[in-house]
Symmetry: C2
Subunit: 324 residues, 2 copies
């Protein structure tokens, strides 16, 4: 089942059930996706019934330009960093000591807004080191404190695709405080479709999204890393997050930047990794961060097949009120 | 003006306007405080009119035990660490190197729930090092990215009192990752009344809450530090937070643990500081962290005068489903 959110002018938008081929949709008689995930056990059968109808040819064409993030806002966003290759390269990129921990890495980020897949992305300054981070994520229903990784898997109700915007000139300074990121992690973006795990078929396994994430920067292929080799699966990330708190329904858990050890072949899902590879190879980074006007495109794809989440395609723009 | 939230069984509760003497209340014809702060320019005059009526003797007595946090949940919680003395003592408590930064310290925390002033506080294990952190906080309306500290002050619509629960056995390990805290910072608690800055009179000045925070642990005075000597005022914390993001209406900004340099006289607002003082004095900490059954009481008070936020008085309990 594929779900999307139509821009009806309300803060949370209008929930749509979208056909498997992505061409038609039926409006759900549930106010929005946040309401649906909050009462998932009753909402799911209603939405599945609509999915059956829309896949049988009911529903209407919709304007993809009017789709927002499937969750335009949520109560909680916890982003992991579950690809070891990403972590190793970031230490080189930022000249940081290795992170000595046997714990999954995770930070709490801004969740009061997720940008839509085609929204322009405003930043105050190119000097902040504007970077994208291509990720996969999951949305859970209410998860009780102390859940085990095994139990956690059943709480994954939806899978999403995310661009975790990052400001690299600020990130290391914030990391060194130990307090995590505030300025370096503005709002993320989401691809238009949230899908139930079953809609991914074999690509959802071991708590991992085993799709290639195709990343194009200004029309040029930048990466096609696979989501399969997460060192820590989503179920373990959820259990980590729920160690000392109940997770509110609608919590989004991110994989961190999709990154593969064979980056020389598959490329990367963020600029900082490429800069680290350049440091290793040439002694210094040469790829600049993003400029205003740049376009980033991201699409999770079954090799040679479908793109279940649709496409993120966004332009970076100067914030209109940028004072500094 | 004093506002509170009555437990009517809804997620956000019922907004009450409370008399200045705290004895009576009128229910507001606005669904809840999150809705009010989201449309503050239209909500404020409505609420001020109710405040006038309730202060003229209208309204009814209410059951303090039925008050929740004034904001039972919000879209964003950003907690500063604006008392330099606290930072210095925490480095000693945790044997951490000094944080080398000229930036305000701030982390993004859990905002999907704020516990009420009398709610029991469930934790999975005493071994996690259960500690309180007495703080003041402010609630802002929508703040545009790039706001200056001077502009930021006018966005402070409400002032609150907070207990930022912290798990000290986990905190240093999470700090060392640079990712900030997830497990070490479960849900915070709020005192029952959110007040407009004018209700604090002279105690609200320079973007600081100049009240003594009386902290009692199991009935014994633990601290009475003043909120006045913040190294960074709330207006500067807001500007810091809004450097690269618009702040959503309802964002709560915290001061961090209230801490004074004359701690030998005024005591502390968290256990870890006392343990640091013991390390300085005796070479080792002797005050244990909290045990299940312990009671913490916190009350911001004008010296010799009123307690505008009311009282937090909570018991720490074992989480019923604690698996480990």
């Amino acid at each position: 089942m594929r779900l999307a959110t139509f821009n009806d002018g309300t803060p949370d938008g209008q929930l749509l059930v979208v056909s498997a081929d992505g061409t038609r949709a039926l409006a759900a008689d549930i106010p929005n996706l946040l309401a649906a995930i909050t009462a998932w056990s009753s909402a799911e059968p209603v939405l599945r019934a609509l999915a059956k109808r829309v896949n049988a040819g009911k529903g209407e064409a919709f304007d993809p330009a009017q789709l927002r993030a499937p969750l335009p806002r949520s109560w909680q966003w916890l982003d992991g960093s579950a690809f070891g290759t990403h972590g190793e390269l970031m230490q080189i990129a930022f000249n940081l000591p290795p992170i000595e921990t046997d714990r999954p890495l995770m930070y709490q980020g801004l969740s009061d807004r997720f940008l839509g897949p085609a929204d322009p992305v405003p930043f105050p300054s190119e000097a902040d080191g504007i970077d994208f981070e291509g990720e996969f994520g999951v949305v859970v229903d209410a998860v009780p404190m102390g859940v085990t990784p095994e139990q956690a898997l059943s709480h994954v109700k939806l899978v999403v695709q995310i661009n975790d915007w990052s400001l690299r000139a600020i990130a290391p300074a914030e990391m060194k405080t130990g307090f995590g990121w505030v300025q370096a992690k503005p709002a993320c973006s989401m691809a238009p479709f949230a899908v139930t795990p079953d809609a991914l078929g074999e690509a959802w396994r071991d708590g991992r999204v085993c799709l290639d994430l195709l990343v194009d920067w200004n029309g040029k292929r930048f990466g096609s890393a696979s989501g399969a080799p997460m060192d820590v699966g989503f179920h373990a990330l959820i259990a980590h997050a729920a160690r000392t708190r109940d997770l509110v329904a609608g919590t989004v858990i991110g994989s961190g930047t999709v990154s593969n050890h064979d980056y020389a072949e598959v490329g990367s899902s963020c600029i900082s990794e490429v800069r680290a590879i350049e440091i290793i190879r040439d002694g210094r980074p040469t790829t600049p961060f993003m400029a205003f006007g740049d376009i980033i495109r991201m699409e999770g794809r079954i090799p040679g097949g479908a793109a279940p989440f649709g496409v993120i395609e966004q332009q970076v723009v100067r914030h209109s009120g940028a004072a500094r």
